[in-house]
Amino acid sequence: MSTSLLVRSTLPRALAHRAILPRNNSTLKHAYVPGGPIPKGSANDATTFPPPSPTHGSYHWVFERSLSAALIPLTAAAFVTSGSNFPIVDNLLGLSLVIHSHLGFNQAVVDYLHTRKFPVIGRIATWGLRTLTAATLIGVYQFNANNIGLTELIAKVWTA
């Protein structure tokens, strides 16, 4: 028994020169050949970065901050006027508030449910948010058109 163990223990050294011969496909997919291509698609790959795009970068930032700045005079105007007399203020406020909320929700979804880590839930959250924003825009428009409007509602509920 000791002889066979001895033979088996020296076998790796004897076969070492055969390591560079090509093996079957399953090992070639994962074995690293010096100087050869590095296979991708395993858990050890470095994280990828999104392609640089001004639409999702600086333009997005400028739009977001401009909208936030525009909300200041709009909110002040809503406090001062009555919504039914100035439907333009009501509609602008409704639109701006919903878009501002959508941008804020989107930041939270990207921060906490990024598709890189949550491929299924992240996509559901992103598209669910877009659907809800569309529904909210329609609801706000309907309320402003067929009812007393957002500013008037808040004023009346506040003093009810």
Partner: protein, 179 residues
């Protein structure tokens, strides 16, 4: 020579087998074999990824936000997000409710429902709405100041932070007391 000693059962056997006769000791080989017999599994190379993922799931996370000292900077930041999300949930909820059921959620019903509430509940409700709104709006001004390049230091962040807290308190009280 001791420094270049190899490790492993094969090397141990090689060494004891190829050593001079005087040094070869059957007891050594018996000990090596008996103490170090291990079993091996045969796995495909793709198992490397699944083993790695399983190991990563078992690794402990170091405590981060459970032990981070509360500071005006990050508490204020998460409060800005929480108040914004809360107010937006209210806006989205009401708009979608009105879209689905305009009969139940139109202005007359909502105003009537609020009118029937007791005064204390009305004041509490107004404060619960006014405080997040005030904080988010005034902290938004602080954010826009940072975006213009002002107050971008630790002192600046703290002084503006305390100013925001004071202004929020004043504004919430004023808004709650509007009749």
């Amino acid at each position: 020579m001791m420094a270049s000693r190899a490790l492993g059962i094969g090397a141990a056997l090689r060494q004891s087998a190829l050593a001079p006769r005087t040094l070869r000791n059957n007891a050594v080989m018996r000990n090596v074999v008996a103490r170090r017999s291990v079993t091996t599994n045969s796995l495909p190379p793709s198992a490397a990824d699944s083993i790695l993922n399983e190991q990563r799931l078992k690794r402990p996370n170091s405590p981060h936000f459970t032990i981070y000292q509360p500071q005006l900077t990050w508490v204020g930041s998460i409060a800005n997000r929480v108040t914004g999300v809360g107010l937006s949930v209210l806006l989205y909820g009401f708009s979608i409710a009105y879209l689905i059921a305009p009969g139940t959620f139109d202005s007359t019903h909502v105003i009537e429902a609020v009118q029937t509430l007791p005064e204390s509940v009305k004041y509490a409700g107004k404060f619960i709405l006014a405080a997040p709104f005030s904080y988010h709006a005034i902290n938004g001004l602080r954010h826009l100041a940072w975006d213009s390049g002002k107050f971008l230091s630790v002192k600046g962040a703290y002084s503006t932070g305390y100013a925001v807290l004071g202004a929020t308190a004043v504004s919430s009280v004023i808004l709650t007391l509007i009749k």
